[in-house]
């Protein structure tokens, strides 16, 4: 309980940092690495915490599109990632997206895939949390989670997270995060070269 309480304190502290950092977000350049705000490096969520419920739980949905099956469509406003299936269907995953000023749209392809990616906190995070290692080898507790899929030549990624509570929220610097179980599932379904469409909103 003591450990849990201390973690909650840290989350609360991180949220305060996020608000403070968010106030100056407009002055920053979108495209910086993920994890500017509420990261809890090393924190390993419980299986219960990683279990999503309701709309953000992975599910097959009706999805009318002219895009070919296998295409990834990201709806940043609704916080959903769709993997197009045949017959107007799609697999829908709940995601976390970029906070205000860090959302973007465009057409990309998955340029690289990585299991258990390493994490390098951005310089501004090191300034705020100078005790952090400047490099954290991939593994459980890593803020980038279990898998990463890089988007074209950008610094953006679709990746996992050790903070399942951020699914459905806008907290990142432009990357898209899924819970580890979902990102592992998606990783297994898409290949390098997969088309990824990022939209502010998707008309179904």
């Amino acid at each position: 309980m003591k450990v849990r309480a201390s973690l909650l304190l840290r989350v609360a502290f991180g949220a305060v940092l996020a608000i403070v950092a968010g106030a100056g977000a407009g002055a920053q350049t979108p495209g910086q690495d993920e994890s500017n705000v509420v990261d809890q490096p090393g924190y390993q969520p419980t299986p219960e915490e990683e279990q999503l419920t309701g709309a953000f739980e992975k599910q097959e949905v009706f999805f009318r599109t002219s895009e070919a099956p296998g295409t990834v469509v990201i709806d940043t406003r609704s916080r959903f990632l769709y993997l197009v299936q045949p017959d107007n269907r799609a697999l829908r995953y709940g995601i976390g997206v970029g906070r205000d000023g860090f959302q973007w749209s465009g057409l990309q392809k998955i340029s690289r895939k990585q299991e258990w990616p390493d994490w390098r906190p951005p310089p501004e995070m090191i300034e705020r949390q100078p005790y952090l290692p400047r490099f954290m080898a991939g593994g459980p507790g890593n803020p980038l989670g279990a898998r990463a899929m890089y988007l074209g030549a950008t610094v953006y990624r679709i990746h996992g997270t050790n903070q399942p509570q951020t699914i459905g929220t806008a907290v990142s610097s432009g990357c898209f995060r899924l819970v580890n179980e979902d990102v592992i599932d998606l990783y297994g379904r898409v290949a390098v070269g997969t088309k990824v469409i990022i939209k502010q909103a998707v008309a179904l």
Binding site: R10, G42, D118, R128, Y131, F135, A137, G141
Partner: protein, 159 residues
């Protein structure tokens, strides 16, 4: 009579005290174990002063590449200065404020780095693999150890 009874009482008290002493001595019949000698830590504060690339890992197979990555992080060095009391100025886990930490010898020969006091407390870290250009730390607190893993410090600008 009164004086006699007091004398008997005194003698009885003396006997009782002797009995307690005898029992105590009997129970401690073996040679008392010596007070553990205070051993100087194997690492000096001066060895830790400098600018370091800092990286962490959890799996032993990641150690070699983590050391390389630590060196690559010297553009964001972790700076360790000497403290006013002879220790080193470093951050405790999750603390943004520098604290003066000292090196402490543990009973099993390990070297600890932490606030002044007993070795091996929750705020301490174990220091290993020390050479002029590198050292490794592992947090004593299991929560810290789990979150931060094993941390390697590689000197920026090797000696």
């Amino acid at each position: 009579m009164r004086g006699t009874s007091v004398g008997i009482a005194r003698r009885g008290g003396a006997l009782a005290l002797a009995g307690v002493l005898a029992a105590f001595l009997a129970g401690c019949g073996e040679t008392p174990s010596p007070t553990p000698a205070i051993v100087a830590p194997a690492v000096s504060a001066d060895q830790l002063v400098g600018k370091w690339g800092l990286a962490s890992y959890r799996k032993d197979e990641d150690r070699a590449r983590t050391i390389k990555e630590a060196l690559a992080q010297c553009n964001k060095p972790y700076v360790i200065n000497k403290g006013p009391s002879g220790g080193v100025m470093m951050y405790l886990a999750d603390s943004k404020e520098l604290s003066e930490l000292v090196l402490k010898a543990g009973p099993s020969g390990q070297t600890y780095l932490g606030p002044p006091g007993d070795a091996g407390t929750a705020d301490d870290r174990i220091v290993t693999n020390v050479d002029p250009n590198s050292f490794t730390t592992i947090w004593v607190d299991p929560d810290n150890a789990s979150r931060y893993g094993t941390m390697v410090y590689e000197r920026c600008g090797k000696r």
